[in-house]
Symmetry: C2
Subunit: 202 residues, 2 copies
């Protein structure tokens, strides 16, 4: 956020922007250099290859996502609090960086092995989430549901409006950016309410 940053950071920020918007294939080193306000030679001086730069960017972006999830998961609260917290935090992240999911998904499908590389740090999170859900089921706070399904349901509801923005905006909202923003602002409440209705036992 500070104007004062060193070249390496400027490069990484520029690369984030370009890679996220264009993907690995669509991104051009020249464009990244321009975006960073430097020239191609210096770009390669810092990061020898496009691939190295991309890997750096990917792990940073994916790290951001994991961090938010971890944050929400490790706060020991009851299920309802966890749900609210998780959904609102997650959507807030995506509101600030709306291209993250498309980027992550696209690159994950392009090179699924990457997941395996970082699997250990995620496994902790997974176990945590699953156990929160299982406990809630045992305590009859929510109806019986497999953790995998509930987790993917929640993620789906949070992520979809961002990856499918042109569809949502174009098809349902008269291609009106204001209406889309309004819609996005309504999302946290909507998703929380939807999921609660779907699983909470009353």
């Amino acid at each position: 956020m500070v104007k004062e940053q060193n070249t390496e950071d400027r490069i990484v920020d520029a690369a984030k922007k370009v890679f996220i918007n264009k993907g690995m294939d669509g991104a051009r080193m020249q464009e990244i250099a321009n975006e960073a306000g430097i020239n191609k030679a210096l770009l390669h001086y810092y990061f020898r290859t496009k691939n190295k730069l991309f890997e750096k960017v990917f792990s940073l972006v994916f790290g951001d996502v994991l961090h938010v999830i971890e944050q929400a998961v490790t706060k020991e609260t009851d299920f309802e609090q966890f749900l609210e917290n998780f959904i609102r935090q997650y959507i807030r992240l995506l509101k600030n960086k709306p291209f993250i999911p498309q980027f992550v998904i696209h690159e994950l499908n392009r090179k699924p092995e990457r997941i395996v590389a970082q699997i250990q740090s995620k496994n902790v999170i997974k176990e945590q989430m699953f156990s929160i859900i299982e406990r809630a089921v045992e305590k009859k706070e929510i109806r019986p549901i497999q953790p995998v399904h509930l987790v993917t349901n929640i993620l789906a509801l949070c992520i979809f409006p961002f990856v499918a923005k042109p569809m949502v905006k174009g098809l349902a909202l008269d291609d009106d950016e204001k209406k889309y923003k309004q819609y996005i602002n309504e999302r946290p409440d909507e998703v929380v309410a939807f999921v609660k209705q779907a699983v909470l036992l009353r």
Copy 2:
């Protein structure tokens, strides 16, 4: 599905396969030619440019999706039937062509104008869906919910497990393809139940 097809169809099928897997940027004309069992010269003989070929493929694929949606929407039934029908049909489509959503989403984000071009045919569908939902709300069959949100919720729940396959499989299912298939098979029931719980008034 027939082995006997003319060259143009073979090309289009091959192009579908490659474009869907690699995207516009990642796809190679040579690879499409190989996949179709012909050479590059003949490929360009049928489709002068990569772009023309791509546009053809995109509209075909997107047409498939719209067709399924249209099918489900135009069957005049009550809300519950519509819900079941829509979800099961849609997931069946994705089970057969799992790469469609990622492809459509990626290309839609790359060139959002494309939506505007086909907007009229979709507007009918949209109106139909929205009115089904509004009627259900009026009749107190479901709790009050904005059609945009409900529609996107349903689409999200259907689509996400396919676009995020590596994540679901890797994170939650021990990277086990069998478990993933099992999970996908459970999806229709799960989604139907989830949505019903979330909106149906009992």
